[in-house]
């Protein structure tokens, strides 16, 4: 069973996504803050096929987690989806610049749609075809 990783401090969210992924045949490891996220990711074996990371979290922000992952040899190849309700355009740009494959505004996607996105990415990842090109729709991103 493919394993995913989710960093999400809000139990409302984490429970919902956990249910959705498990229903779709994924195993899910969850961290509730940024620091724990990095430690958990390092200790995980095998590594998750996709990491979903919230931006606003205690201790370390999602951006920090992403930055540290990209500096770690064992973590830098894990595709990262930033999953957040922080809908600023600048935030989205920053996330993609740091190496996230997707920047998704939670309120704009149902859990099912997010599962679909993860499937698309993991399929490409498994086939070693690289990460599929995805765009961030302006409809979901606000400008600041």
């Amino acid at each position: 069973m493919p394993t995913l990783f989710l960093a999400e401090d809000d139990p409302l969210m984490s429970r919902m996504y956990e249910r959705a992924f498990k229903l779709n045949g994924f195993d899910l490891k969850i961290s509730f803050d940024g620091e724990d996220a990095i430690n958990t990711l390092k200790s995980m074996n095998p590594k998750p096929i996709v990491a979903l990371v919230d931006v606003m979290m205690p201790k370390k922000s999602g951006f920090d987690v992403l930055r540290e992952m990209k500096q770690d040899e064992s973590l830098k190849n894990i595709p990262v989806i930033l999953l957040t309700n922080l809908a600023g355009e600048k935030d989205a740009e920053k996330g993609l610049e740091l190496g996230a494959v997707l920047y998704l505004v939670k309120s704009q996607y149902s859990p099912k749609e997010i599962v679909t996105k993860v499937k698309e990415i993991s399929a490409g990842y498994e086939r070693k075809e690289g990460i599929p090109e995805v765009k961030v729709s302006i409809k979901n991103i606000e400008e600041k």
């Binding site: 809000d10 409302l12 969210m13 919902m16 996504y17 249910r19 959705a20 229903l23 606003m56 309700n85 922080l86 809908a87 505004v105 939670k106 309120s107 704009q108 149902s110 859990p111 099912k112 729709s137 302006i138 409809k139 606000e142 400008e143 600041k144």
Partner: protein, 682 residues
């Protein structure tokens, strides 16, 4: 003075004048002759002197040469001895060494040095020695003049050089005796001139007296006697006696005059009688006139009384007017007081400045806002206090007077305060600028509010969405993944309602946030080149499901020519089109929705036509307003369809991108056509 004396004085004066003019003429002639005589004498005298001198010095030098040659002296000592022997009393001798120009012993003669300045002699000798001359003269004849002021004594020196002995010998003479002779002659001339002058005057005075006496005698007999007779007759007539005649029998002008005079007195007698009659007549006429005038005076007096009455009335009117002015003045001062009170009570800083920027009136608020204690006197002080960069406020005001504009400076940082400043020129009724009005507003509080509003939106966007996402996500999962477990149809319906509510709420939150961003201008346009047809196809694809649900056909009317390339913000255009097509789907029950294109000027016009129920005229004007759905009446709104912000957002975005949006046409029961325009790549 009678005529007799006048004539005599005149005659004497004229004769005297003639004699004086003549005398002066003689004197000037005499003086000229005298000057000529002196010049002539000077010339002759100098010539004679030169002749005599030449003889003298030739004799002198011949003597020396003779002795010198015969006795052959070999040194200057011997030569000097000869000169001593030859030296005559008639002239002066000087002997000098050639080498140093010093006077040789025994041969300086005081007279020589008084005749000529030693330096002149030295310079002169040097020049001639250089030119290798052996004989030469030095004289001052050209400086000598023969008038009385002359002080230069005419004198002459002849030099001869004896190279063998190494000496120069000078022989000179002065002609002082000649000068005395000239003076004597001059004196003689003056005496001669004086005697001639006195004689001339004597003769002229004598002749003058003779002529005068003769003239007086003639005058008396010819003119004065008849005149005296006439004068006496006139005296008599003046006293009123017209019977007196003048007795002159001569045949000349006086005889005629006397005759005419007699005729005249006769005529006068007649005239006088006539005049007396006339006077009587005129006197009676005057009496009548006087009566008339008296009558007129009475009338005038009456008129005067009327005018006085009028003047009194006028005075009263004037007093009334003055009272009115006093009242008006009071009203004006009250008005001014009210105005001042209003200005002083303003929380906004207020000042009126004159054309030079000096303060005329200001309220306390302006001092409070600018944190100053002392009164401000000019605009320049304001510029300094606010640290205004670039041109001073006064300069800007001067420009505004010409351009008739208003200066507005919003968000001026002043310490911890944010200020807004307005400066407006004030024009009098005849369009002459008489100064300006300055307003300064403390907008710190407004800025703080604005900032907290921004923060509110940031929090709202994040915190509202999170729970909404949970509601939406969970409901949707129940309805899809757990639908087998929800068997009760009521529960299922309730869950569907929750799902729809959450979707709508998310939509509202998003629309609200978007509107607030647009209204604050927090929106950036990212222009790129793109093909409008692609965008349209994408929008149709994403809305096809919705249309199919209502069995509406959704189509693009493909243009005959390929569409021009667009330069605009692709995502925003997509959103606007999505909005318009979405609205059409919402408000159309059957038929079709079609999208077509037109090129107008430099813009591409996109038209969205539907076969909906149309929009009534009265609602047309409400379209594109906030919270105004595209559908119908404001009170009969279908909240299930929209928040009413879609068209408002679309309008703001299109206008920001330099385009236009609106209702092309609409007919109730037939359908509506909406459009928007976008700039084409030029």
């Amino acid at each position: 003075m009678n005529i007799n004396k006048k004539i005599i004085s005149f005659l004497i004066l004229s004769v005297l004048t003639v004699s004086i003019v003549f005398t002066f003429n003689s004197i000037s002639t005499l003086s000229k002759n005298q000057a000529d005589n002196i010049d002539l004498f000077k010339k002759e005298f100098l010539e004679l002197s030169r002749e005599l001198f030449n003889k003298d010095y030739n004799l002198f030098f011949d003597n020396i040469d003779f002795q010198n040659n015969n006795k052959s002296p070999k040194n200057n000592k011997q030569l000097l001895d000869f000169i001593t022997k030859t030296y005559s009393k008639s002239g002066d001798v000087i002997v000098m060494n050639i080498s140093d120009g010093q006077v040789t012993d025994g041969f300086s003669n005081s007279k020589m040095t008084t005749l000529f300045d030693k330096s002149i002699i030295d310079g002169y000798l040097k020049e001639n020695i250089l030119n290798q001359k052996t004989d030469f003269d030095l004289d001052n004849f050209d400086k000598f003049s023969a008038d009385k002021t002359n002080t230069v004594i005419p004198s002459k020196v002849h030099f001869r050089i004896y190279n063998d002995s190494g000496i120069i010998v000078g022989y000179g003479q002065d002609f002082v005796t000649a000068k005395i002779r000239i003076e004597f002659i001059e004196r003689q001339n003056v005496i001669l001139f004086k005697s001639q002058f006195y004689l001339a005057i004597g003769i002229f005075v004598g002749i003058t007296l003779l002529i005068t006496l003769l003239m007086i005698f003639i005058m008396r007999s010819i003119i004065i006697k008849p005149l005296q007779k006439i004068s006496a007759a006139v005296d008599v007539i003046t006293k009123g006696d017209l019977t007196k005649n003048v007795d002159i029998k001569s045949k000349d002008e006086f005889g005629y005059l006397a005759e005419s005079f007699n005729i005249m007195t006769g005529r006068l007698k007649e005239s006088y009688a006539y005049l007396e009659d006339k006077v009587k007549e005129r006197t009676s006429e005057l009496d009548i006139k006087v009566k008339e005038i008296t009558q007129n005076n009475i009338e005038l007096e009456n008129n005067k009384i009327v005018i006085q009455n009028l003047l009194e009335d006028f005075e009263e009117e004037k007093n009334n007017a003055e009272k009115l002015v006093v009242i008006r003045t009071k009203e004006l001062s009250d008005e001014k007081a009210r105005l001042l009170a209003s200005i002083n009570s303003l929380t906004m800083g207020f000042a009126i400045v004159d054309i030079k920027g000096n303060f005329m009136i200001n309220n306390p608020s302006i001092l409070y806002i600018l944190d100053v204690l002392e009164n401000i006197k000019s605009l320049d002080e304001i510029s300094t206090i606010l640290d205004i960069k670039g041109e001073s406020l006064l300069k800007r005001l001067e420009k505004c007077i010409v351009d008739k504009c208003i200066i507005e400076m919003s968000e001026l940082m002043f310490g911890k305060k944010y200020l807004r400043l307005f400066l407006t020129p004030v024009f009098s009724s005849d369009s002459v600028c008489i100064g300006g009005v300055l307003l300064i507003e403390d907008i710190t509080e407004a800025k703080v509010l604005e900032r907290s509003r921004d923060e509110f939106f940031a929090v709202a966007s994040h915190e509202l969405r999170t729970p909404l996402t949970a509601i939406r996500g969970n409901t949707e999962m129940i309805l899809t993944d757990y639908k087998d477990k929800v068997n009760d149809s009521d529960v299922k319906e309730m869950l569907t309602d929750i799902d729809e509510a959450s979707v709508r709420l998310i939509g509202i939150v998003n629309d609200f946030l978007e509107v607030s961003r647009l209204e604050q201008g927090n929106i950036s346009i990212k222009n790129t080149k793109f093909d409008m047809l692609n965008v349209t196809e994408k929008v149709i694809a994403s809305l096809n499901n919705e249309a199919e649900k209502k069995k509406l056909s959704l189509k693009i009317i493909t243009p005959k020519k390929s569409l021009p390339e667009i330069y605009s913000d692709k995502d925003k255009i997509e959103e606007v089109l999505f909005n318009l097509v979405g609205n059409s789907i919402k408000f159309t029950e059957s038929g079709s929705i079609s999208i077509s294109f037109e090129t107008v000027d430099n813009k591409l016009k996109v038209l969205v036509s539907d076969t909906g129920k149309g929009i009534s005229l009265k609602n047309e004007s409400l379209l594109f307003r906030k919270f105004q759905p595209a559908g119908d009446d404001i009170l009969v709104r279908d909240v299930t369809k929209s928040t009413g912000l879609g068209l408002y957002i679309s309008k703001m975005m299109i206008e920001k991108m330099g385009g236009n949006i609106g209702l092309e046409k609409s007919e109730q029961g037939v359908g509506s056509v909406f459009f928007f325009t976008i700039p084409i790549v030029s």
